[in-house]
């Protein structure tokens, strides 16, 4: 495989609480290769959105990056100056957020917001900007006449597409998406995902896709990372994870939804609730809820062990002890 365009190494995100600092993201590492579709799944509050904002350097105080490196094409984004970072933004990687209604400036037209992004990166020719704006809109299937609309004048689905088109403006190599389809109905979701996938194949950008919807990401992603309580518990090719999930949590997730075909079996959820981020369980964070818990699990935290092409953070897979703790 080609060199990864994004390498996240050991990043930690903390924010202060009255009871001490909480680590929303605790030493997460992952890599994304050119043109790859990486999905990140987890429950609400597991830190996946925070991870996204940390990677894209969009954290808002009091949350802060407490350590680690974010290497984009070899350059550590954490060490870049403000100006250098601004030049990289949008041009090398862009962001799509969950709710376009909130992510688009309500008082500016679509065209103006597109032009802002382009002018911020040295494009000055109004005609060229306009042409490129029309181009990206048609890429997502929206009539360019809507360039002069305000966000509130568009429908929900259209707004999401407008946001996605905006992400394509400077032809970035990586687009990071934070649950961009959650606000849509199921039909619109599928259609939008299919469109994203098509665009990805034709334009060649990589995607990091954060969601809580397993089925959605299972269908469209190449690789999958499962997050729990601020850490990655399993990461590997999607097909492999779905066929034989390694971590008990992943197994629980996959068993939580019924299949349309197949025998009708009783639904199994995962008992308990995610831990308090300030008072984490000892040892493995998942052990209080794990069906396969062993004595060791409450004492030592497991490392990331490789099983075939997947890495699993569980003592059950300790056989091949490779990887970081």
């Amino acid at each position: 495989m080609a060199d990864p365009i994004l390498e996240v190494r050991d990043i930690r995100v903390e924010y202060p609480t009255p009871d001490g600092p909480a680590r929303a993201v605790d030493r997460v590492s992952l890599a994304v290769h050119p043109g790859e579709f990486l999905g990140i799944v987890g429950e609400s509050g597991c830190g996946k959105s925070t991870l996204l904002f940390a990677i894209t350097q969009l954290l808002i105080p009091p949350a802060r990056l407490a350590g680690g490196a974010i290497l984009f094409k070899g350059q550590n984004l954490v060490q870049l100056s403000e100006g250098a970072l601004r030049a990289v933004r949008w041009r090398d990687y862009s962001v799509v957020m969950q709710s376009a209604m909130n992510a688009l400036n309500p008082v500016k037209t679509v065209a103006a917001q597109y032009a802002d992004a382009m002018r911020g990166h040295g494009h000055a020719d109004r005609v060229a900007i306009r042409a490129r704006s029309r181009e990206v809109l048609s890429l997502v299937g929206i009539d360019p006449v809507h360039l002069d609309s305000f966000p509130h004048q568009l429908s929900g689905g259209m707004r999401q597409r407008v946001m996605i088109a905006m992400a394509l403006l400077l032809s970035p190599e990586l687009i990071v998406m934070d649950e961009p389809t959650s606000a849509l109905d199921v039909v619109a979701q599928r259609s939008l995902m299919a469109q994203i996938k098509t665009l990805q194949r034709s334009l060649g950008f990589a995607v990091i896709f954060v969601t809580h919807d397993m089925s959605l990401v299972g269908h469209f992603s190449d690789r999958l990372a499962v997050m729990y309580a601020g850490i990655i518990v399993e990461i590997g090719p999607t097909r492999r994870i779905f066929d034989s999930p390694g971590h008990p949590y992943t197994q629980g997730l996959l068993e939580s939804f019924p299949s349309v075909y197949g025998p009708k079996i009783p639904l199994k959820g995962i008992p308990g609730s995610p831990p308090n981020m300030v008072m984490l369980p000892t040892g493995c964070r998942f052990h209080p809820r794990c069906a396969k818990v062993m004595e060791r699990c409450s004492i030592d935290p497991p490392g990331l062990y490789e099983a075939e092409e997947t890495s699993v953070r569980c003592f059950l897979h300790e056989a091949a002890v490779v990887g970081r703790a």
Binding site: F53, T56, L58, I60, P61, L85, R86, A87, V88, R89, W90, R91, S94, V95, M97, Q98, S99, N102, A103, L104, N105, P106, V107, K108, D116, A117, G120, H121, F150, H152, Q153
Partner: protein, 327 residues
Amino acid sequence: MRYVLRRLGFFVVTLWTAMTVNFFLPRLMPGNPAIAMMARFHGKLNGQALRAMEVAFGVNAQESLLVQYLSYLRNSATGHFGTSLTFFPNPVSEVVLSALPWTLGLVGVTTVIAFLLGTLIGMIGAWERGGWFDSILPPVFIVLSAFPYFWIALVSILIFSISLGWLPLGFAYTNGMKISFSWPFVGDVLAHAVLPGITIIVTSIGGWILTMRNNMIMTLAEDYVRMARAKGLSPMRIMMDYAGRNAILPNLSGFGMSLGLVVSGAILVEYVFSYPGVGYIMLQAVLNEDYPLMQTLFLIITLAVLLAILAVDAVTILLDPRTRAAS
């Protein structure tokens, strides 16, 4: 369009309420001040002028209350406000018109300056969070905004007029100077306007700074501001174009609503500085029990506030495309 009509309808209702208050209030008060006041006119006006006065003021013993009320409304709407007691024999309308420019100049200009300046400072203050700006200035301005306008006026007179002698201690221009558009006169007017103007700005700016700061802080947490950062836009553009333009909107509507308060403070400032604007004249009228003048000024002040609100509405429609859809 319907929105505009509804607004105008509201304004008419408000003006009508003010006129009705003017008409009925003296009648409801113990001692019926209206009748008492009319008695004082008896000695001064002859038959026809007196009758005109009675009609203008709506005090006419021969007609029923309803008829008097209606004719009072009609007179008010057409600008017949009667004769002033304090500035006898000038008609009230004349007195009001001569005082209006001074107030518009002083109060109008300084209020707008205070709003714009305060909004700007509040915006920058929220942007640069965490410094001394954020911890010290808000409490300072909170307390400052609780200072009565007129007291600040008194203190500034004490310091700048009496002790230091830099600025005149009252009136709009030096007594005896000819009113003209010549430089000496304009300069004199400006010199007289400095202290009252600064008083108004200093006392009202605190509120704008604080509300804009709070609005801005909430706006800065919005997704579209984060998105603007993600796009790599310059901080100035984010602060002004994405955050500022949205944060100012609730402030604008607050501006309209608070004009009543601004007017209140301005009246007292005019009083302290003997500045011959609408507020000062109104207080003179009160002290002289010159009810026709007082009532009319009340009406005019209400009208001015309504017009200002209308202007603010227009600006809001300009700045916020969502309201255009509604109207």
